[in-house]
Symmetry: C2
């Protein structure tokens, strides 16, 4: 296993699933995709789940994935129990349970389909966004202070819209909004599995309110709407409500041509700071 | 069972679950909550699922519910198989499988919690909306023509924003947006279960594009964010992308005080017209 600072480990290798000699679907969850403290990123885990669902499906693309995050998931060997549902010419349903050495940690519904090259009848346009070169990279600090090491930062390149990046220097904008250009650090172009990763890749929107800390995901749904063009993806995350210790994060992702290619929404707990 | 035009059947009775003598959780799915052709509304079914999840949970309120719609579900006896997940002081996870006489039709993840009276740190404001008296009721016609009878229309009162109701007279606005005041016809005030119903209660957003017909739900996630105040709820549904036969419907629901109380997003198939 690579040390956290060994450079961009391959997304495909880190999310690979395979059958073991007993016919079970297994994965080796990569320690390099953590969000600190040995806890793996929720989008990374959901991409592994989507690969398991697609393994025996007649359709190659995850189009709707929703998961309950039962417990924090660490790196190491995992088993993916796939229960196939109805499958047809248009789509196939399935359920996936991800279990680590300590038992189940994620329970998911996955619908797969075959996305084509259709022009949209309707597609929400992207927000205005500065060029990649005019955006802010992450140096691993929050509010001007070094924070715990986060492997995900080395696996995904992120360039924040400066208007939503004030938290980097401790000057939060006061609005729960994050916008960033993102791409895989290993140079691989985006596909539906990478879009699932991107759907949980930004810092919590609550950081825009000055509430710093980890926001554990409770339930996350990702919809993949189109095959993304090569290049940077534009990711916008907003919260609709922060209340009573609960937070939502609503993501929309556009590809380099400006087409809306994915949407997600998660319920999370508000960081304790 | 009430005939479809017998008036407002009780939401509580129609979504009730109970244990049968064998200890199984069962329900009698009410034929009055259909969307035409004997197919029950997706929000109604999800409310029944949420009741099953809450039955043995230490927490009373469904806060995150996501379901794959495996097959269309008709009225009649149903069994709800609940698999409890981790439960704690803040929340409890569970999975629910809804099965009719022909086998499983919905597979869902449900998280329950205990919502309080917290003031939000952040809450997205409602869109501007005409008063209830200035909005449009439904007379059961689409594009000026009588359509198939839909039981749901008699169970939920809907008052459409005229700017999103052009489809009633065959003059679709050209944008996939619906806004309406809604309340239960039986006079019952909204609660988290009613919000789950409301999260799939409007005509498909594609009707705003002149694409009339049923849009079968593939996967639906609902987040309940707060206990709603009494009175009408304001529901806004938009589509982010319509492409390749796929449609999303993104709902936000505000209570009568203007607080955001629920959010949902579904992937559906585009109506054939």
């Amino acid at each position: 296993m690579l040390p956290i600072d060994a450079g961009p480990a391959s997304f495909d290798a880190a999310t690979a699933v395979r059958r073991d000699p007993d016919g079970r679907i297994v994965a080796d969850l990569d320690p390099g995709w953590d969000v600190g403290g040995g806890v793996l990123n929720g989008g990374y885990l959901l991409a592994v789940i989507a690969r398991a669902a697609a393994l025996d499906s007649p359709h190659p693309h995850p189009v709707a994935v929703s998961a309950s995050y039962l417990r924090a998931t660490g790196p190491g060997p995992a088993t993916l129990t796939v229960t196939a549902g109805p499958a047809g010419r248009t789509l196939a349903h399935g359920s996936v349970l991800l279990s680590g050495t300590d038992g189940p940690t994620l329970s998911a519904q996955v619908t797969t389909a075959t996305l084509g090259a259709d022009d949209p009848l309707w597609s929400a346009p992207p927000p205005s966004m500065p060029a990649v070169a005019d955006c802010l990279g992450s140096d691993g600090t929050v509010a001007g202070r070094p924070t715990k090491e986060v492997g995900l930062r080395h696996r995904v390149e992120t360039r924040l819209d400066p208007s939503t990046g004030g938290w980097l220097r401790g000057a939060a904008s006061g609005e729960p909004v994050m916008r960033a250009w993102v791409r895989l650090a290993d140079g691989r172009e985006p596909d539906p599995f990478a879009l699932i990763l991107f759907a949980d890749v930004l810092p919590p929107t609550s950081w825009g309110m000055g509430l710093y800390g980890w926001a554990p995901t409770v339930q996350l749904q990702v919809l993949v709407r189109a095959l993304p063009a090569p290049g940077w993806c534009l990711v916008e995350a907003t919260a609709g409500e922060i209340s009573g210790g609960w937070l939502d994060e609503d993501y929309r992702i556009w590809d380099s041509t400006g087409r809306l290619v994915a949407q997600s929404r998660q319920l999370a707990r508000v960081p304790r700071g």
